[in-house]
Amino acid sequence: MNKKIYYLFIFIFSFSVLSAQEKLSKEEKARREKNIQAGNPFAQFGYKAKIATLSKGKYLEFHDLDSIVTIGTVRWHVYKNEIVGRIVQDSINPDAQPIGDRVGRWMSPDPLSEEFSSWSPYTMSFNNPIQFVDPDGRAPDDWRINYVDKQGNSQQFVFNGGATALPDNQFVRDFVGAYNYNVGNGGGDSMKAIAENPNITVDVQQGEFTTQDNSLSKDYNVVNWNPNLGIETTSGNILSPATLLEHEAGHALAGALAPGTKLARVESSDKQYRDKEEKRVTIGIEQKTARANGEIGMVGTTRTDHKGLPVVTKSPTSNTVDRPKTYNTLNTLHSKGFFFPGFGVEDTEKYRR
């Protein structure tokens, strides 16, 4: 008796399961099979492969079967292997939709992902395309401005010369202001070249004095810049901090492009300018930028040597000397017996109020 009830229960269960299954018409079965075989890459060879689908053919799951596809702005016929049309992108209308497959799509993980282990290999510009620029898909580069934020943390801001939102930091603003001032006036060739060359990274940070430092193996390339310190030259000209920044950018660019050649020039002494590298930069880009910034006349020279008296200026782009600050600084040095070559007490005294 118990056995009979057991078999009856199995029969009812099986019947209910089978009857619950969808009964498909012949046409529907054919349609579903067509949907499945749409994803068969061997169909043209007559081979019917097993195709994995989610809906078992109920829905068409293969959507790249069009004979004409959009690749960028090109309409491409996949069977004829020819371009059959082009799309003109509306670059004026801010509401215009992106074209076809031009929307962002990663073809592979970032090959430099190991260098940025804390970031997903499928991100770009640290997910911040406003602050960082990555024109060649490698690493953020150009001018890397190092500063300390209000919380006392070290930060970097990458600047490639374009208009961009700046962090709330005076040094960053001073640097970008000096860049725009030099370049806008028609000088600043080296600063611009660094900004526009995606293969060069130059670090800039605030320093006691303006200097430039690079390794022959291109491990580092650093400019220390004091945005308050210009120099008076032995020719009597005052060079702004912005012009001195361009001077050091000239060395940085040479160090980035051909460090060996730069070193050969540094090792070649020059009676006036110490060495051939200083001569190249001083009579070249320093003079051009100083002239563009109105710090020397159209036919004048900034200096005929490598001497200078540090002076505090009114602003990073100004060549007007802040007389009290300059006098106090230089006078303190003199009281210890310190003088800069080519300059005496009288050069300091003229800045006394």
Partner: protein
């Protein structure tokens, strides 16, 4: 009581005797390949002025000191007074006498403020002692994370 006095006074007197250990060299220096917008005088090579950009090394090894002095004594004065751009300042402590030697990276030698003819042999020896070419800038020391991928 006398014995106690001897035990106290003798060590005190012995301490007053100055041993011949005041022969050493102090090196203050900037790193290699540094460009500046104007030539640096010797006083600039100081931690008071250039802060972290100045490196320091003290050498009191007798052999190194003697070799240094043998080269140091060969310096000759020069009539050429043009040019000054210093990267290495050496304070030479030779018993009671203290000299200051200032060297540029490739040219310029000033001994106690007087310009001397350059001595390549001594310059190279100094660079060797302080491992000049491997001196890392303070910025790179502070931010090793920015450079680890390039090393």
């Amino acid at each position: 009581m006398k014995k106690l006095l001897i035990y106290i006074v003798c060590p005190l007197l012995l301490n007053c005797y100055k041993k011949d250990t005041s022969k050493y060299l102090e090196f203050f220096y900037m790193g290699p390949n540094i460009s500046t917008p104007f030539g640096y005088p010797c006083f600039m090579i100081s931690e008071d002025i250039l802060k972290d950009d100045i490196n320091y090394k003290k050498i009191d090894d007798a052999e190194q000191f003697e070799k240094f002095m043998s080269l140091y004594d060969k310096y000759e004065t020069t009539d050429d007074t043009i040019g000054m751009d210093i990267r290495i300042k050496i304070v030479v402590h030779n018993n009671q006498k203290t000299d200051t030697l200032c060297l540029g990276e490739y040219f310029y030698t000033y001994k106690n403020g007087v310009k001397m003819k350059d001595n390549k042999e001594l310059l190279n020896y100094v660079k060797e002692i302080i491992d000049y070419k491997n001196t890392v800038p303070s910025f790179v020391k502070k931010h090793p994370e920015l450079y680890k991928s390039k090393k």
